[in-house]
Amino acid sequence: MSESIVLDHATDHDDHGPAKGFTRWLFTTNHKDIGTLYLYFSLIMFFVGGIMALIVRAELLEPGKVLINPEFFNQMTTMHGLIMVFGVIMPAMAGLANWMIPLMIGAPDMALPRLNNWSFWLLPFAFTMLASTLFMSGPAPDFGWTFYAPLSTTYGPKSTDFFIFAIHMMGISSIMASLNIVVTIFNMRAPGMGWMNLPVFVWGWLVTAFLLLAVMPVLAGCVTMMLMDRHFHTSFFDAAGGGDPSLFQHVFWFFGHPEVYILILPGFGVISEIIPTFSRKSLFGYRFMVVATVIIALLGLVVWGHHMFTTGAPLEAQLYFMYATMLIAVPTGIKIFNWVATIFKGSISFETPMLFALGFLVMFTLGGFSGLMLGLVPADYQYRDSYFVVAHFHYVLVSGSLFTIIAAVYYWLPKWSGHMYSEKLGQIHFWLTVIGMNLTFMPMHFLGLAGMPRRIPDYALQFTDFNQYCTVGAFIFGFAQLIFLYIILKSCFSKDKGHVSAQVWEGAKGLEWTLPSPVPYHTFATPPVITTGHREY
């Protein structure tokens, strides 16, 4: 063993291993280290946000007050939403990008490694600042994750300013990360790695990065306007001074709708990697997949009005936003059909990543359908602001984005750590997660249709039993994630010598699977030369 280390050092003369101690993580510019940091950060925030969700569900176990007062309930729903969107899904996707993009395109590292370090290290500060509001004497942000004015301006608690700066910091972090990703994909591809030869995950992230660059500045502008309204005597959103609160919704959703594609497009990429591997077939309709991703992103920029049907928008605008929204179902449908066609007649095996990918395929489609229902103007008048909306976006965010992240972790964990996870525990984790997830969110559809509004700490008696299913489901889901935590930690910190092959999965194709497992600290110092379409079967 020591011999091989000596050998390694002899061959790679400038290959210094990672530095020791905490400073390794603080000063690292290594894309794998930064990817790991992002993923651990996301994992921690996942449990923080998850505990908040469980507090919310516990309060909703019965009508009346169960555990917490309504003020704290509002803070919990708000913080849960903010943390899950900005602190879990986005950093996890960024972590996957950092780890996998250089490995997939044959680059030695990200193009701008120091910027990369900075974009990660802004996040812990941003979220410490956000979480610190919970311990202040005034209430923490309590206006919902969409922070509509005037709830967040005229009536916002003092801590809103902390929230605004937290959003600014994580916005800067996302913009720098996207900048890095775009430059890496444009300039660092190995020779022979043409655009139409890129792994779909890389394509998904490229499009996402452009979306982030386009809309994160708008979010920054939006919270800056809030800050100005709160402290600098402007009135962007205050009708008393000539502003307009519905302007807030336009600005916010101009960011907010593309944001949902930011949360899911990298996940689409992950699924497009996993399904071919476990079906042992190449991805059906690669070009269509790429074009569909681009079209989804472009359409995503011009449909924000579907969040505002009941604000009194003119009929023509409502019709336009409705049809444009429906149109997105076409490229999304193409993707779903292509994944199904990839599975069709494949020799399929059901390892945990594939299970999560299939779970995604079924349940994300369900979430898509409820999205179509919400996109219909006449139907939306009934469904808006009800639990139906909550059910919809949890189906696309939990069984959508989160499932793709979990699938990605199972898929690449052996590659990262060099240790196979426990397949048996993985399967248990999957089934508990699926059962918990459906038990939690399926009844919410019916609660919403029956008229239960979202964001309330109390409800009418007739909603009790369905709310109790939700709460039980939520605790099953939460418990299942402890298994996930155990699996990850066991695989990462296992002392016994790993014997995972380079390819890991029998059907895995792509540059990352040519590297040994675990991946050495420095890879592709000399770029590999790609001569064939390497993803062909």
């Binding site: 030695p108 444009f186 300039n187 708008v218 009708a239 008393a240 001074g241 302007l247 009194g312 003119p314």
Partner: protein, 194 residues
């Protein structure tokens, strides 16, 4: 890597382009504000077309074949202690016919105060056809402690209003403007002080 130096140059160019894009989008966010106001004014959304004066087309014909019922409603914003009500709950007008109506306002806040009424008109498809030649809502209004007044609105409905419009609502929300007082004379034009 033998292409290292050109790659760095490419990086710089690409980064410059992307950073410019980011700055542009930040500016675009602020550009949405005037853009929004222009669009709202065009379509009459949120009373944006009803808070400035329009001129009457001298050739305008009164369309006596149609009658539109116009309802008036008022709201006080927040805890503003004012009595603010229309003298008539609703009136019937023919398109093209000019009308004068009054709103009664009484300052019960116990101090001098500047307020402004912000209009809103429904239904949205007809909103831009309700036009005002004069209205107390065009400017901020100054009220002494305990002052009461009837405040005028001159309006007409453009005959081009959609055929299916039978009923419209003109509503005002009265805002406390203490934070946003404009430098102008205390504006009370047309008011009947009581």
């Amino acid at each position: 890597m033998n292409t290292k130096i050109p790659a760095t140059k490419n990086n710089k160019r690409l980064i410059t382009i992307l950073v410019c894009g980011v700055i542009f989008m930040f500016g675009f966010c602020y550009m949405l504000v005037p853009l929004y106001n222009i669009v709202c004014k065009q379509i009459g959304f949120n009373g944006k077309s009803a808070n400035s004066a329009t001129l009457v087309n001298p050739n305008m014909q009164v369309d006596t074949s149609r009658t539109i019922k116009v309802d008036f409603s008022t709201t006080m914003h927040g805890n503003l202690n004012f009595k603010f009500i229309p003298l008539q709950r609703h009136i019937e007008v023919h398109p093209g016919e000019r009308k004068l109506i009054y709103f009664y306002a009484e300052n019960k806040t116990g101090k001098d105060i500047t307020v402004q009424a912000i209009p809103s008109i429904t239904p949205n498809d007809a909103a831009r056809f309700l036009k005002k030649t004069e209205c107390f809502c065009f400017t901020q209004q100054y009220f002494f402690k305990g002052e009461k007044a009837d405040m005028p609105v001159y309006f007409f409905i453009d005959p081009a209003v959609p055929k299916e419009t039978k009923e419209m609502t003109l509503s005002y929300t009265l805002f406390d403007e203490t934070e946003f007082i404009k430098k102008q004379k205390h504006f009370t034009k047309g008011r009947i002080d009581l």
